[in-house]
């Protein structure tokens, strides 16, 4: 598969994207105010190459979506008899996501394990995932909060992508080596009528990968997280530890909504106005930092307090998920939860401290 590689000159990018996205809505990063978000791209529009503030997970897992509509229907002869009809029709839009980073694309892989390969298959996610081509941009620089190399991800990780683009060369001379990762990626890339990437360019791409990886390693050598799942469980009842970790947490949901791997959701019903005979059941992003997440109708809450909620968030990503999914952590090290946090709660610090400090203060 990796042999299927094409070259896109810098000036050709917009045209190539138009071709790849034929018949699809192409989402690409766009600057809105001070944020960069994925938005449907107009044909010919020169794409922004900056990393988006918010990952593109919403294209496949919308912030809020209708699971079904319910329509109450009255028996015309007996208004006391009402039946309910459910309409589970959804719009599935063939889509292409351009400009996500490897950490973003890998997020879909984390989702897939739960949404496609768990005890139940999620038909909504499945339909959108099936309809969406992911064209990813490999990273050339290490941001101060990047730690993808800790998590099994990396600056050129192709997991979850259909096509991986690597910037090579500089300025107008430069371009992108586009490697198809999946069959579907091949087909899409072929639509663009691009020259094959020659060996030199392939080498250049490899060099870019290696250089970024090196920069990351230099910035923060990846710790060994293999013992972390067990360590976090040992830490489970260490109230002081979790208090210290969560002191500054505001219990908002920024980290979870910015996270490419956070997949939790809520289900609620809403009634329409008008004749009052119809409504919707919605599935919308939810957030384990909120006290409502686990609060039961009786008022009992097994995760009362932000310390317990933060414990679950870290535990889920670095202990429970890997235990259930062959050691894969449900964190890609994108660092958005750190940059996006109003008070700079640092998940790296929590993981490292939970992993290391055990020997010092074994009061779990």
């Amino acid at each position: 598969m990796m042999s299927f590689a094409r070259y896109i000159a810098r000036g050709e990018l917009a045209r190539a994207l138009d071709d790849m996205a034929r018949g699809r809505v192409a989402y690409a990063p766009r600057r809105e105010g001070d944020a960069v978000v994925f938005r449907p791209r107009a044909e010919g529009e020169e794409p922004l190459l900056a990393r988006a503030t918010v990952p593109p997970k919403g294209v496949i897992f919308p912030q809020s979506e209708r699971l079904f509509a319910f329509i109450r229907e009255k028996d015309p002869n007996d208004p006391g008899r009402t039946t309910v009809r459910l309409d589970s029709t959804v719009d599935i839009e063939p889509a292409l996501i351009f400009g996500g980073r490897p950490c973003d694309a890998r997020g879909f892989h984390i989702f897939d394990r739960v949404y496609l390969n768990g005890p139940y298959r999620d038909p909504y996610y499945a339909a959108r995932r099936e309809a969406t081509v992911v064209v990813t941009l490999a990273c050339t620089k290490a941001g101060s909060t990047c730690f993808c190399h800790w998590t099994g991800c990396g600056p050129a990780d192709a997991t979850g992508s259909d096509i991986l683009l690597t910037p090579v060369g500089g300025g107008d001379e430069g371009g992108f080596v586009a490697m198809a990762v999946t069959e579907r990626g091949c087909a899409v890339l072929e639509q663009a009528n691009l020259p094959e990437a020659d060996a030199a360019r392939m080498d250049a791409a490899q060099a870019v990968h290696a250089a970024t990886q090196a920069a990351l390693d230099a910035q923060s050598p990846a710790p060994d997280l293999s013992a972390t799942p067990a360590r976090l469980l040992e830490r489970f009842s260490d109230a002081d530890f979790w208090r210290d970790m969560s002191d500054k947490c505001l219990s908002c949901g920024a980290c979870t909504y910015l996270c490419p791997t956070c997949y939790c959701f809520n289900i609620t019903d809403e009634n329409d106005g008008g004749d009052g005979m119809r409504g919707r059941r919605l599935r919308s992003w939810d957030n384990c930092m909120s006290s409502l997440f686990t609060r039961e109708a009786s008022g009992h809450n097994p995760r009362m307090g932000k310390a317990l909620r933060l414990r679950n968030r870290v535990g889920h990503k670095f202990s429970y998920y890997p235990q259930l999914h062959e050691g894969v952590v449900s964190c890609n090290g994108c660092g958005r939860c750190i940059t996006g946090c109003p008070v700079s709660v640092d998940i790296r610090e929590m993981v490292v401290r939970a992993t290391q400090a055990n020997e010092e203060t074994p009061n779990a």
């Binding site: 809020s64 990273c139 620089k141 101060s144 990047c146 910037p167 210290d244 609620t268 008070v343």
Partner: protein
């Protein structure tokens, strides 16, 4: 029943049971012919009319909303309409911030005997709404995003912003640390700042042990308003380090008895302005390329009126260019209460705070642009509620009506209307309470300029009630009080 397309507009009325509903009845008994557009919702008192009902109706497609109650002094419940007058006038002055024509909302007083007057009120108001036509929907407005491009500059601050020389700063900081160490034994903890995950970020520090105090930092990176943490320490003794602006939040919390004076120990230092990290980042950002956006300097040094950033390409920026917007118009650089160590910050040079730039930008827009602006801004809202949770005055938190179903003010839909609805709730709940610390906007992970709504509200509150929050511990927030004769509220002639 046929639908009356085009003939009628959607006008909602909230009428108090005792006076205006009776007045409408009297008009009916008198067979005074009136436009048919109005649909009346009966409430016990105009004091029961939550301004949010009006917003809900207007955002939901009403073309006009009318509230009517007993004449002032005639309230069946003696004070309800006095409260209503303040709330509804505040709302009326706020609606334009959303691009909603304030003429679409009116409130007035009609007694049970004033049938003729009711007819006139309805006729005049409905006619006005017809002149205005169908209300444009915010979610249908053309997106309007005046691009905040890299390098956009702030107007000059009203005071010279220059931090003391490094030596002086260190000495003051050491004094502050001493005071904290001395107080620590009797406190649960003291909240301050320390170096965050990179050189550009500070992060809140919870000092419990004397050695924690060594980590305390002081300078223009201490952006957070730590007063936000105080209410969660209810019934426990806690210390907090504040900047001048943060001290106003503490005052407001004390005033509303959300924290107990005996339980809070305030440590303050004079502040010469904090940076807007977004601005610094933008100023340092290399030309747009395949870079990650989170590039940080290796170290940051404060040099008087500037900041020096070390790294691959060293940069020196003037504080005035990267300062947080709120610091530009700050007139409380020195904390207003507490144990203040360094009290020599420069006073504002100008005549006093003028309109903050983002409010000026909003002012300069047409109503249509404002609708487009909020539509485009709110579109990317994640509903993470960082704006709320970072707000020192948002004490409902786990019980916020943004997520509750009883009452059910907002749905969980990810649309602009629901998102904006919450921002309006936030602004209305902060009316007369917001100290404009800007944490809502700073906390927003997608940089939505939500502070502008509160600034608009604060300007309304200042104009209407001559009131600024967080200045006087003994004051009463204006919406929790009333005056029989309102100095600055003109009765609306309907």
């Amino acid at each position: 029943m046929p639908v009356l397309k085009g003939k009628e507009l959607r006008v909602v009325g909230f009428l108090c049971n005792w006076c205006s509903y009776g007045g409408a009845d009297t008009a009916g008994v008198g067979r005074f012919s009136q436009p048919t557009d109005l649909r009346i919702i009966r409430v016990p008192c105009s004091g029961r009319v939550d301004p949010m009902f009006v917003v809900k109706a207007l955002l939901g497609g009403a073309d006009g909303v009318l509230v009517s109650g007993c004449h002032p002094r005639d309230c069946h419940y003696s004070q309800g309409n006095f409260y209503a007058r303040r709330r509804l006038e505040t709302l009326k002055t706020f609606l334009p911030a959303l691009g909603i024509d304030p003429d679409r909302f009116q409130y007035t007083w009609v007694s049970a005997s004033e049938g003729q007057r009711w007819k006139n009120v309805v006729s005049t108001f409905v006619e006005k709404v017809h002149q205005l036509g169908h209300a444009p929907r915010i979610e249908e407005a053309a997106p309007y995003l005046p691009l905040a491009e890299k390098g956009d500059t702030l107007p000059a601050p009203l005071r010279p912003l220059a931090w003391p020389a490094a030596g002086t700063l260190t000495a003051s900081l050491e004094q502050l640390r001493e005071k904290i160490r001395a107080a620590l034994p009797e406190l649960d903890c003291v909240i301050g700042w320390q170096q965050g995950f990179d050189a550009l970020h500070a992060t809140p520090l919870f000092m419990r042990k004397p050695e924690d105090v060594d980590k305390l930092t002081w300078g223009p990176l201490n952006v957070h308003n730590l007063a936000t943490y105080l209410p969660q320490f209810k019934n426990r003794k806690v210390g907090v380090v504040v900047k001048g602006c943060d001290s106003r939040s503490v005052i407001e919390l004390l005033q509303e008895k959300l924290v107990e004076p005996d339980n809070v120990r305030v440590f303050g230092m004079a502040c010469e302005g904090v940076v807007d990290v977004e601005r610094v980042r933008k100023a340092m950002e290399p030309a747009e390329g395949a870079a990650c956006t989170d590039v940080a300097p290796a170290a940051v040094a404060v040099e008087g009126d500037g900041l020096a950033f070390e790294g691959d390409t060293p940069v020196r920026l003037k504080l005035a260019d990267v300062v947080a917007e709120k610091c530009r118009t700050c007139d409380t650089p020195v904390p207003l209460l507490g144990d203040v160590v360094e009290g020599n910050a420069s006073a504002p040079a100008g005549p006093g705070p003028d309109a903050p730039p983002s409010l000026e930008a909003l002012d300069a827009m047409t109503p249509e642009q404002r609708r487009g602006f909020w539509r485009a801004q709110m579109d990317r809202c994640l509903r993470c509620y960082a704006c709320r949770n970072a707000c020192p005055m948002c004490v409902c938190r786990d019980h916020c009506i943004a997520e509750s179903r009883d009452p059910h003010w907002t749905t969980q839909e990810g649309n602009v209307r629901e998102k904006l609805q919450f921002q309006v709730i936030h602004a209305l709940h902060l009316a007369g309470r917001c100290t404009e610390c800007g944490e809502c906007q700073r906390a927003c992970p997608v940089n939505i300029p939500v502070l502008a709504l509160k600034q608009w509200m604060n300007r309304s509150v200042l104009t209407l009630f001559d009131y600024r929050a967080g200045v006087d511990v003994n004051a009463v927030p204006p919406l929790l009080a009333f005056a029989v004769e309102e100095k600055n509220i003109k009765e609306h002639g309907l």
